[in-house]
């Protein structure tokens, strides 16, 4: 089976990962899968204002997912949508398991994700970027979080669906995974498949997350090496 863009079923799109792309932020990263690109910036941990919103037992993690108006073929109207509000919520729940929020009572950690190019897989690109940005900010983490979507097209399990594939896949299953912890932190599905297929697709996605994890670690290592040199 040949995919629309010539990839093999288990092949991801060309990936680019960079950290430190937003100078003002405490940590930041850009992650690109083909024509899907997300930038994440982390501000914090910092004291949360106003005080009555503080939690005395842990830091409050806030996640915002936003699409640039020009990131989609038809202009995306600025401002939050029902879709972006839901995605902000699941991204927060995908990332929070990796953090030790109880170490920072009364603080806030703000994660802002901007999708600059949207060709399917924006939430998973955003999670990969957010995870890198948190590490770049030097925030202690249980694990990195890696994420990818997978599906089934013409009888085959395929990884990292692009926009054209998203329209024909029998299921679209975005997944986030903490490889060292061995835990799934994001799991959604739109589609219609027997449970065995779903299980297999999840396995494929987890395998791919492990590869992305290595790429994320490499990018961070390079950054730390470079900083050590400077």
């Amino acid at each position: 089976m040949k995919r629309v863009d010539g990839r093999k079923p288990t092949e991801i799109r060309p990936v680019e990962m960079k950290v430190g792309v937003v100078k003002n932020a405490d940590g930041s990263a850009l992650v690109r899968f083909g024509n899907t690109e997300a930038i994440a910036a982390v501000y914090g941990p910092k004291e949360l204002h106003p005080k009555h919103l503080q939690d005395n037992e842990k830091a409050i993690l806030k996640c915002t997912y936003m699409m640039a108006p020009f990131s989609t073929t038809e202009r995306n109207k600025p401002g939050p949508s029902r879709r972006s509000i839901e995605i902000s919520k699941v991204i927060k729940e995908a990332i929070e398991p990796a953090l030790f929020l109880e170490e920072y009572p009364r603080a806030s950690i703000d994660v802002y994700i901007l999708v600059t190019q949207a060709n399917a897989g924006t939430r998973t690109a955003g999670i990969n970027a957010a995870s890198l940005a948190l590490a770049d900010a030097g925030i202690p983490m249980r694990d990195l979080v890696s994420a990818i979507a997978a599906g089934k097209i013409e009888g085959e399990y395929v990884i990292d669906l692009n926009g054209d594939e998203e329209k024909v896949t029998l299921a679209d299953i975005p997944l986030a995974y903490m490889p060292r912890e061995g835990k799934i932190t994001l799991l959604q599905m739109d589609g219609n498949l027997p449970k065995e297929d779903v299980k297999n697709i999840i396995k494929l996605a987890i395998d791919t997350c492990k590869k992305l994890y290595e790429m994320q670690k490499k990018v961070l290592k390079e950054k730390w090496l470079k900083e050590g040199v400077e």
Partner: protein
């Protein structure tokens, strides 16, 4: 962790719960359909003390450009503070949006409604189905109660007449073309235990939550993981198996109430 939570944890670890249920056991489910005179369809579902009212309204409008011969499904949830002190006045927040979107995906991906039969004139006029979820009392597991009420209300729906460009709400005859009865089952895990049908107290101490919609043929048609902790792949697989089983039972309850 306070004393009640610790006690709940102890019970759960022994395989039982505050209300004496087994971990795999649902609370009492009741369904009452056709309760709203003004709605095309309606259903009030209780699961224990959780009560959700769903009303279906229909109207005619333009189809979306990419589906010119299909009706339009709009699912909306109003978390009005009447039902719980944890709800707040104001525009829909992330919880109400997530609830509506999970129910929407179950119905949509499970192809519960024959959307092509809702086309009146291709590219011009199609039926719009509004599924409005209105929790009356929130004692946990809103997702399953809402989905069950939504499906029951759809099954209860009679379409108004459409004549000379206007909807005649007074004349309702044809049933809505419902093709599949979707069942939504939500599981929470606390430590290494998996529970169905959580109460609000159990939701407050859960690690994670997984909601799964299944269709009549046993296929999975929507998944949503929630909660602030990760979950092991093995646990997920077990949940899938249970979701298919449980789904069958829920479908039976829904059918017996039509």
């Amino acid at each position: 962790m306070n004393i009640q939570n610790r006690y709940m944890m102890d019970l759960i670890n022994k395989g039982t719960r505050l209300d004496n249920r087994g971990l795999d056991e649902y609370r009492k489910i009741t369904i009452k359909s056709g309760v709203i005179a003004q709605a095309e369809g309606s259903s009030m579902v209780s699961i224990g003390d959780t009560k959700v009212l769903v009303g279906i309204k229909m109207d005619v409008g333009e189809p979306f450009p990419d589906t010119p011969n299909e009706g339009i499904l709009i699912v909306n949830a109003e978390l009005y503070p009447m039902a719980s002190s944890s709800f707040e006045l104001g525009p829909p927040d992330e919880n109400s949006i997530e609830l509506a979107r999970i129910v929407d995906r179950g119905i949509r991906e499970g192809k519960a409604i024959d959307m092509e039969k809702l086309c009146i004139e291709e590219g011009e006029k199609v039926w719009i189905i509004f599924v409005d979820i209105q929790p009356i009392n929130h004692d946990g597991n809103l997702i399953d109660a809402s989905a069950m009420a939504a499906i029951s209300a759809l099954l209860n729906t009679k379409m108004p007449k459409y004549e000379d460009g206007s909807v005649i709400y007074e004349e309702k005859k044809k049933k809505l073309p419902v093709k599949d009865i979707i069942a939504m089952t939500t599981f929470i895990n606390i430590g290494d235990k998996v529970l169905v049908d959580p109460t609000i107290e159990e939701e407050n101490i859960m690690d994670s939550r997984v909601s799964i919609a299944t269709s009549q043929n046993g296929n999975i048609c929507a998944i949503q993981k929630g909660g602030m902790h990760g979950i092991k792949p093995g646990t997920i697989e077990k949940i899938f198996d249970k979701a298919v089983e449980r789904g069958e039972e829920i479908r039976k309850i829904i059918k017996s109430n039509v």
